[in-house]
Symmetry: C2
Subunit: 217 residues, 2 copies
């Protein structure tokens, strides 16, 4: 049985953004059964969790007594298990892998920098200057991505793949801004991919799990 | 024949840091023949290069008339071609893939943020505040990585893999600081892996190619 380990609860700003969404979504697309396991939000610095995830992040993937971390690695592993997630042909798989890495290594860091500034540094006297700097870089990267997506339904290989899961969840992390929607091809792509039933089911499940673990007030 | 496309020249601060080093190194470890192809440093915004690399970055990998970008994707592709780069057993391969993504998605962005500040923002009035912020996050990540590497010769699977190529080249990007060496297990790991003949050969080749294309003064 596959299990996804994640935190039991997060504050409102992180609802729908926890990276376990990538794995829930892939497993829903593939029709593979899985269960959820929860670590307390403040338990991620303990030795048990660090043994599973050395950086104290979530999620962790478990299968047959073995665990993996890094959602990119886990998505590629899941891609080997289901034709719903990956093409079979070698060149098409290479294109999928290329764009999975592009999402996580060439787009996410630029968007995550905006998130870090907006969530943790808004009160600093250097916020606006630094924030303008990271937004300029993010816009350049998103503009390049829009030039690709204006002619494509999916990001790679002419079909839905784990690269779309990575790219769409990356674009979601700046949902507190209108940055993505300011590039029409990106807003359309995100809306199109998010309309998939497997995404909607995975998102609803994440939100329900967070609500079920809400602290008693 | 495999070809690596990269820029013909870079200013001194980027010598030995160009990401084509990852591919040269992997190909030297594997003993696979390859040739280099060069794009002018200022030619990366042209339509020919953008058709190969939509973000205007380097390197691009070419094999059998097909191209790929994103060094992480290319390293995983090369890992399928040589036992010198990857274990064969499935769990060991998953561990390698996990740490390859960890290098590129959980360590590189934090170190790259330092590079961006030091190279492009040192003259801004918000530099020091923002720089302190990114250094704090980078140190936390490097401390977590040191806790793992204090007990390991290689980062994954008990042997040299493409994950070591990714992690070592990521640690190199802050070589203008003593950040990596301030964590003893990281400094020792980096020195140990960089001592490999294939790395030395790849690095020397990158530097020689840059010198050969130096602008006439």
């Amino acid at each position: 049985m596959i299990a996804i380990h994640t935190v039991d609860w997060v504050p409102p700003f992180a609802r729908g953004l926890l990276r376990d969404l990538r794995l829930r979504w892939a497993l829903e697309e593939a029709g593979l059964p899985y269960k959820m396991k929860f670590v307390p939000l403040m338990g991620r610095d303990g030795p048990d969790w660090r043994a599973l995830q050395p950086f104290g992040q979530i999620p962790v993937y478990e299968e047959g007594g073995k665990t993996m971390f890094e959602t990119g690695a886990i998505l590629l592993h899941l891609a080997t298990k289901s034709a719903a997630l990956s093409p079979a042909e070698a060149d098409a798989k290479n294109e999928m892998t290329t764009w999975l890495f592009a999402a996580l290594n060439s787009v996410e860091p630029q968007l995550q920098a905006i998130v870090m500034h907006d969530r943790f540094h808004r009160d600093k006297d250097w916020y606006q200057g630094a924030r303008d700097g990271v937004e300029e870089i993010a816009k350049k990267r998103l503009g390049d991505l829009a030039s690709v997506l204006k002619d494509r339904e999916f990001i790679a290989a002419g079909r839905f793949t784990v690269a779309d899961i990575a790219m769409t969840t990356v674009l979601r992390i700046v949902m507190h801004t209108d940055l993505v929607e300011s590039f029409a091809p990106l807003g359309a792509y995100k809306a199109r991919i998010e309309a998939r039933p497997a995404f909607q089911k995975a998102l609803a499940a994440q939100l329900a799990d967070i609500d079920a673990h809400a602290p008693q007030s």
